[in-house]
């Protein structure tokens, strides 16, 4: 269902365009490779040396705004969209039990969480291969690893990004049970992601930073060091799973006792 909708196909198209855009801009403006000090600079700077970094840089770019937006759209629409056009009442009378409905919807959201970063990654690799060298990969820590190893790390990164988005998806699913207006659910979910990012940027709130779901999104850079640094990634996984659990439970409690009068 998700992948047949034109709207979602358009989102995938936009996501696929981002690595291509990055590759072309770097190709056109590049005057020899430079490595910045921060992660972003380093990722972009490495592109000229090895095309696989197109994929990493693109993931870096989309993780903070584009991916949460893509997930918000689909997750926010999941239940409220059915309520909005009235198909929810017919699904429930089939009958699809309410917990099963949530499970099916969340499974769909999870597949969307995986396909979106995968699209960015795959297109990134292809664009990189087309425009840049593809030899051994120099990691952020300066170590050289074979190209295949670089691809392995890319896959890990994509899985990590998918998992991070699973939290947004669970929040969106819950919000989606609160309203019959899909656009409201989408906007609310995106607003929550942005709020989390804003709070994360206020140094005085350092105490709550480790508990924000967006806090760990960019930690995937740790996967580009040698040896692999799992501390931040591990925490990110745990916090994300916590969010998923809490919001799925909230969604279940909410939908379970709700009067469907749409």
């Amino acid at each position: 269902m998700i992948f047949r909708r034109r709207r979602n196909q358009a989102i995938l198209g936009v996501l696929a365009a981002i690595p291509i855009l990055i590759a072309i801009s770097v190709k056109v403006t590049d005057h020899g490779s430079r490595r910045g000090n921060d992660n972003a600079g380093a990722l972009f700077g490495s592109i000229a040396d090895n095309g696989v970094f197109v994929a990493f840089a693109a993931l870096f770019v989309v993780l903070t705004v584009f991916l949460p937006m893509a997930i918000s759209v689909v997750a926010g629409d999941s239940v409220s969209g059915e309520a909005n056009i009235g198909t929810l009442r017919y699904l429930l009378t089939v009958p699809v039990s309410r917990p099963r409905l949530l499970a099916v919807k969340y499974t769909g959201i999870l597949s969307w969480c995986l396909v979106t970063p995968l699209t960015v990654g795959v297109v990134g690799v292809l664009a990189g291969l087309a425009l840049f060298p593809s030899g051994s990969v120099v990691l952020l820590s300066g170590t050289q690893v074979p190209y295949v190893d670089g691809l392995g790390r890319l896959l890990l990164t994509i899985l990590y990004a998918a998992l991070m988005m699973a939290a947004v998806g669970a929040i969106g699913l819950f919000v989606s049970t609160l309203t019959e207006v899909p656009i409201a659910a989408m906007a609310t979910t995106l607003a929550l992601s942005i709020t989390s990012a804003v709070l994360d940027a206020i140094p005085q709130l350092g105490g709550i930073h480790p508990w924000l779901f967006s806090h760990y999104w960019l930690r995937f850079a740790d996967l580009l060091r040698d040896p692999l640094q799992f501390d931040g990634v591990e925490k990110g996984v745990l916090v994300t799973l916590g969010y998923v659990l809490v919001f799925l439970t909230l969604g279940w409690a909410r939908l379970g006792g709700k009067d469907i009068s749409s």
């Binding site: 909708r5 056009i85 009442r89 009378t93 089939v94 039990s97 469907i260 009068s261």
Partner: protein
């Protein structure tokens, strides 16, 4: 009205009969958060195999009742069961045997009619996937939608949408159908076909619970009726029962209405009067033939003699009141 209310209350609550009831409810009440009591201590009794017309003015609680029966909204209090099993506990085993059309059809606009049915069927764990294409085609055929099955739902006309909604209710062989205004938006042929369909389903032994405002239609297909007014059941029972309670009147058109009135009074007919130059009276248990005979014997020149059965519409209005405004 008070007679009708007493009738509704005195419905026998024989426990052994509940196996014979397709739908039964006890003191079913729904109070919305707004404070509105949409359904008030409802005692539904729909016998198995009945075609039950669920009537009532706009806002009288018909759709709310159907939503409760289907587990879409939860009652504030009261119990209810369908096909002999208490709900909502047994929803998983009961609802697959129940087809429903609630407050109009609803489908995904960008999928075709057939794809929409396939999606609904796939969501049904009790449905056999192998037989799905055949069952979908049969359902489409039954509502006369085969030719438009491949069209996107968003391009369907109002009546085509309604037909698809009915097709969805017929995807599986059902024991009970809950149809909320199934003929809404249908053309005259469509209305007639739905009437035939309901009639036919009734003959196959399917219990049909149908809400409608088309009283002439209801009169033709239903075996039972229930009349709602502001959330309460004001009358329910079989159509013959309803007819038996109604006062059949005779109307005599004549040049001498006063003499005709006297004859009617002498024969023992109730409430004999003269209105607009015609003699009227309540028939009671007297044979109409005897009345005509008596009139002729008395030398009253009879130009017209009519035995008037009240139409369901008149009964409906007498039960639910004349007022046009909905009761908020």
């Amino acid at each position: 009205m008070s007679v009708a209310e007493a009738q509704a209350r005195s419905a026998p609550s024989d426990a052994s009969a509940s196996a014979e009831l397709a739908i039964e409810s006890a003191a079913l009440t729904k109070r919305f958060r707004s404070g509105q009591v949409a359904v008030d201590t409802l005692e539904l009794r729909v016998p198995r195999g009945a075609v039950y017309g669920f009537l009532g003015p706009n806002g009288s609680g018909k759709t709310t009742t159907i939503r409760m029966l289907l587990g879409l909204i939860f009652p504030t209090s009261g119990r209810y069961s369908m096909l002999g099993a208490a709900l909502p506990a047994s929803a998983g085993s009961v609802l697959p045997r129940v087809g429903a059309l609630v407050e109009g059809p609803a489908f995904h606009p960008y999928l075709s009619g057939r794809a929409n049915l396939a999606r609904l069927d796939a969501a049904d764990l009790t449905a056999t996937g192998r037989t799905a294409p055949r069952r979908i085609d049969e359902a489409l055929e039954r509502v006369g939608l085969t030719a438009a099955a491949g069209k996107r739902y968003r391009h369907y006309s109002l009546g085509m949408r309604q037909r698809l909604g009915i097709a969805a209710a017929l995807l599986q062989p059902r024991e009970l159908l809950l149809l909320d205004e199934p003929t809404n938006g249908l053309d005259p042929q469509g209305t007639r076909e739905v009437r035939h369909l309901i009639h036919q389903l009734g003959r196959e032994g399917v219990t049909v619970f149908v809400s409608s405002h088309l009283l002439a239609e209801v009169e033709q297909v239903c075996t039972h009726v229930g009349v709602m007014s502001t959330g309460r059941m004001v009358w329910q029972g079989s159509l013959p029962e309803l007819a038996a309670q109604q006062r059949v009147r005779v109307r005599v058109t004549t040049s001498d209405p006063q003499a005709a009135r006297d004859v009617l009074a002498r024969l023992g007919l109730g409430e004999p009067t003269v209105v607009d130059g015609e003699a009227l009276a309540v028939l009671g248990s007297i044979d109409p033939e005897r009345i005509v005979e008596a009139l002729v014997e008395a030398g009253v020149g009879v130009r017209g003699f009519v035995v008037e059965k009240p139409r369901l519409e008149d009964v409906f209005v007498s039960l639910t009141g004349e007022g046009f405004d909905v009761s908020g």
